[in-house]
């Protein structure tokens, strides 16, 4: 399901938004074992579809996403619908407002079809920490869809929507996109407003598109980007049309391959798949440079100190006072404790405890402040690299999608799933996952990292690779 095909169908009258929506909701119900959706927005979607159908019939263009069914990760607010963040602590919460990016999608005629399952409060790499059950990988339902935007990635991969919006803190769009064989984009920090995105780690969180092709991801990112007065961290940078150069020949590019991302810890079949893409690009005249990002190994501990410190502050608001679940107790202090104890899952508790420890008196300098200084070193590694190359290519994940339950009991093993996506997050760089084929029946992804606000080049390179890809097994 692609934006271009749907729009052509609607404009010609061959397809009708109401029929597409009804078929979609039937398919979501049929594939409910994937558990990709926590709720569907049938009433509002069908009402919107009727209105859009009328507009197309009258020859009026409802917008570049007119009638396109899009799903939203359930940590983003859609007015009138629940936002659970995959947690029991927000049971009963229905949002009174749209996230800014949701308003932008609706202004271009998009149809919001439902809210996707996710790891609880976006904390996870497998969509197994959700209080509402794991998401299953459409390629093999015994395996994880990745996380934390597992529901969004699985929904796109299974054709249960045309595209979805996920969120990425340490890799939570890119990793599930790779595991589910779809395109996933983390924009430059500040590119997309965080208003209405329930915060995990405020200096990392970014929402972005998950789609079946580069063109759709670029179209959607163009729609949802832009400075927002409701988000003081959103960037005062103009938004270009990210689709403009997709079909243009690439300029003479220098591409970096950082040695730290191609170690023994990465599955050999994934490395082979990327080498095959590199060989094909090299034959078109693109220069490749082996380079070093020497502080890569320190990225994971930096992330888990800083992100969890921010999370311990951001999740302090869930106290049973104003919204969501409230435990029955006799006095206020007990109410806070019982509500949070019963409302949060184990991974959330673990992360906010780590965060609180590293911010606590006696430890803050040694952990939090020191980690933020190492973050500077990691950012400087990328600055040095981008003085020599225009883009960086790496694997997205060290492994193929693993089995549900395989890594769940060892938090550190699970955290290593994000080892290749975290560094770009620390530096605020745009990065995307592009599917480049399968190993057996399991998809693998290629990560492209670009300079700040250089998503246009990132998409152009991705589109070039996408055209050249042979989606047969790479080994």
């Amino acid at each position: 399901m692609r934006v271009r095909d749907l729009r052509e169908g609607y404009c010609s009258g061959r397809l009708r938004p109401t029929e597409v929506c009804r078929a979609l909701f039937a398919e979501i119900a049929r594939q409910n074992t994937l558990n990709a959706y926590l709720c569907t927005c049938e009433d509002s979607a069908l009402a919107a579809a009727e209105e859009l159908e009328q507009q197309y019939r009258c020859g009026k263009d409802p917008g570049c996403l007119g009638g396109i069914p899009i799903a939203i990760k359930d940590n983003l607010n859609v007015k009138g619908y629940p936002t659970t963040c995959g947690s029991k602590i927000l049971a009963g919460y229905r949002s009174g407002y749209h996230a800014t990016l949701v308003s932008k999608l609706l202004a271009q005629g998009a149809i919001i079809v439902g809210k996707n399952n996710l790891d609880e409060f976006a904390m996870g790499s497998s969509n197994e920490t959700s209080a509402y059950g794991p998401v299953r990988n459409p390629f093999d339902e015994r395996r994880v869809a990745g996380g934390s935007s597992g529901g969004s990635a699985a929904a796109v991969a299974a054709n249960l929507c045309c595209a979805a919006i996920g969120s990425d803190t340490g890799g939570s769009i890119r990793q599930p996109a790779a595991f589910c064989g779809v395109v996933g984009v983390r924009p430059t920090y500040g590119r997309v407003s965080r208003f209405g995105l329930l915060a995990y780690a405020s200096s990392f969180d970014q929402a972005g598109p998950i789609a079946s092709c580069v063109e759709d991801a670029a179209t959607i990112l163009t729609v949802i980007s832009g400075q927002d007065h409701l988000d003081a961290t959103s960037a005062p940078v103009a938004v270009p049309d990210f689709t403009e150069n997709l079909n243009r020949e690439l300029p003479r590019l220098r591409i970096g391959l950082p040695t730290e991302y191609f170690t023994a810890g990465v599955d050999a079949s994934i490395k082979a798949g990327i080498e095959s893409v590199v060989d094909r690009l090299r034959s078109t005249g693109i220069e490749f440079h082996r380079l070093s990002l020497p502080h890569t190994d320190y990225a994971l501990p930096v992330y888990h100190i800083v992100a969890n410190a921010e999370a311990s502050a951001n999740l302090a608001r869930y106290d049973g006072v104003r919204y969501g679940f409230r435990a029955t107790t006799r006095h206020l202090a007990e109410m806070y404790k019982r509500t949070r104890t019963e409302g949060f899952g184990q991974e959330v508790k673990r992360r906010i405890m780590v965060g609180a420890f590293t911010l606590s008196s006696g430890y803050i300098d040694a952990y939090y402040t020191h980690a933020q200084k190492v973050r500077t070193l990691i950012k400087q590694d990328f600055e040095a690299a981008f003085s020599k190359v225009d883009a960086i290519l790496t694997p997205v994940t060290p492994t193929l999608p693993f089995f549900i339950g395989e890594k769940f009991d060892d938090p550190l093993v699970m955290y290593l799933s994000d080892i290749l996506t975290i560094p770009a997050s620390l530096a605020g760089l745009p990065a995307m996952s592009l599917p480049i084929g399968t190993v057996g029946s399991l998809p693998i992804g290629l990560q492209i990292i670009s300079r700040h606000f250089d998503e246009k080049l990132m998409f152009q390179l991705a589109a070039t690779i996408e055209r050249g890809i042979n989606h047969a097994s790479v080994i």
Partner: protein
């Protein structure tokens, strides 16, 4: 860094979470392993490095100081677990220990 059960209890108090005895043991082991892994950062000398609190620095946008619409009070009321008139109702905030009946409020 190995941490003790006492430290875990203290952190749990800071984040307002109660742990069972088995959870205390589990978290003591897991948090110790996680903090051990974080100790890898001690390999680096950052004495002369400035911390990065925000990945990109922008000038903070200011707006004119004019009041505007906010979340409607009806929405707030609909979300609140309990209301008393126009106020969100919560449990007793203060407990005087010597007051008759205070024993009913022991945690």
């Amino acid at each position: 860094m190995a941490i003790t059960r006492e430290v875990v209890r203290h952190i749990a108090e800071l984040v307002r979470i109660e742990l069972t005895e088995s959870e205390e043991l589990l978290f003591t082991n897991q948090l110790s392993a996680i903090l051990d892994y974080m100790d890898k950062l001690k390999e680096l000398d950052t004495a002369t490095i400035t911390p990065t609190f925000h990945p990109l620095e922008f000038e903070l946008p200011l707006r004119t100081d004019e009041p505007g619409p906010t979340i409607p009070i009806a929405v707030v009321k609909a979300l609140a677990p309990a209301m008393q008139g126009e106020f969100i109702e919560v449990n007793h905030v203060l407990i005087e220990p010597n007051r008759p009946g205070a024993e009913n409020y022991a945690s």
